[in-house]
């Protein structure tokens, strides 16, 4: 494990964020911004979290191939900078990022009631 001063560590996290901003995955949404912050994971292990803001993907959510590639590249970049902690990746569109502190309400006319109806139809089909 490489031991760094606090200042040097902040510099390295900024360098990592800068490197992440330069990552491109062909055919995938472009990265607009990235930051890296200290994080404690679910097991209480020291980790890092890369908060990445991207162009919106196609309908259907972030693709598995894209997120897999991005996680791998981010962790390689961290390892190259002697960062031993695992880097978790959190993805947002600009709209989602700006709404992080907003109220917990559906944004559009569509929302939970549509899903409830779909669930009911699904159960009726199984039962018929």
């Amino acid at each position: 494990m490489v031991i760094m001063s606090v200042n040097r560590r902040d510099e390295v996290l900024n360098e990592l964020a800068e490197a992440i901003r330069g990552v491109t995955v062909p055919g995938s949404p472009a990265i607009q911004n990235a930051s890296v912050e200290p994080y404690v994971d679910a097991d209480g292990e020291p980790a890092l979290k890369a908060v990445i803001v991207l162009d919106a993907p196609e309908e259907g959510g972030w693709s598995a191939e894209f997120t897999h590639t991005l996680r791998g590249q981010v962790n390689k970049l961290a390892a190259e900078r002697d960062l031993d902690e695992h880097v978790y990746v959190a993805l947002f569109t600009e709209e989602e990022y700006e709404a992080r502190t907003g109220a917990d309400e559906p944004l559009d006319g569509f929302g939970t009631s549509d899903i409830d109806q779909a669930l009911i139809r699904d159960q009726q089909q199984d039962g018929s």
Partner: protein, 184 residues
């Protein structure tokens, strides 16, 4: 009557909760949290079932069920982290590297890397979705978690079908995690 965990059913439910078939918009946070959690359990149960089946081989179903209970979330995560560390260029314990790296290519098999990355990401997201008030539940992320779970499940099926040796080693490491390596 047996009531097995069926990954496809979990993924279907997760997709419904995330509003996959309902069009654009944002379901309530509780639905998105449950979608992420359900996607993780689709992957977890698929992994446990394959691990138990491969360990019990031709033994009775009761053996598979008993072995399946030995797997723990944290040990899977530890094994997954070792795979990710190797892929990223970090140095895991020597016995781990010996067991997980393909000696011909000098790398972790691609499907094992896909599985490990998916498991690690989803396990952390599941914990956040279930327990963390500050968890960022977004529709795109919930759908992304479902996509990731499906990708991991497909990787498991390919490794099972091809009898990939490193997959069996991963499943063994996942039974004991760190404790197993301390004794080697």
């Amino acid at each position: 009557m047996r009531r097995d965990f069926k990954a496809d059913d979990y993924l279907h439910l997760a997709g419904m909760l995330a509003g996959r078939i309902a069009g654009r918009g944002r379901p309530r946070t509780a639905y998105l949290r449950r979608a992420t959690s359900t996607a993780y359990y689709a992957l977890f149960h698929e992994l446990v079932q394959h691990g138990a089946k491969r360990a019990a081989r031709t033994g009775p179903i009761e053996h598979q069920q008993a072995i399946g209970r030995w797997y723990a979330h944290g040990n899977f995560k530890k094994a997954a982290r070792w795979v990710e560390d190797i892929a990223a260029g970090r140095t895991p314990p020597n016995p781990v590297r010996l067991l997980l790296v393909d000696p011909v290519t000098g790398k972790v098999p691609v499907d094992l890397e896909v599985l490990a990355s998916a498991f690690s990401e989803l396990q952390e997201a599941r914990h956040g979705a279930d327990y963390d008030p500050a968890f960022d539940a977004t529709r795109l992320s919930a759908l992304g978690h479902i996509n990731t779970a499906r990708s991991g499940i497909e990787a498991i099926k390919r490794m099972d079908k091809s009898n990939l040796h490193q997959f069996d080693m991963f499943l063994l490491l996942a039974l004991g995690g760190d404790k197993m390596i301390r004794n080697s």
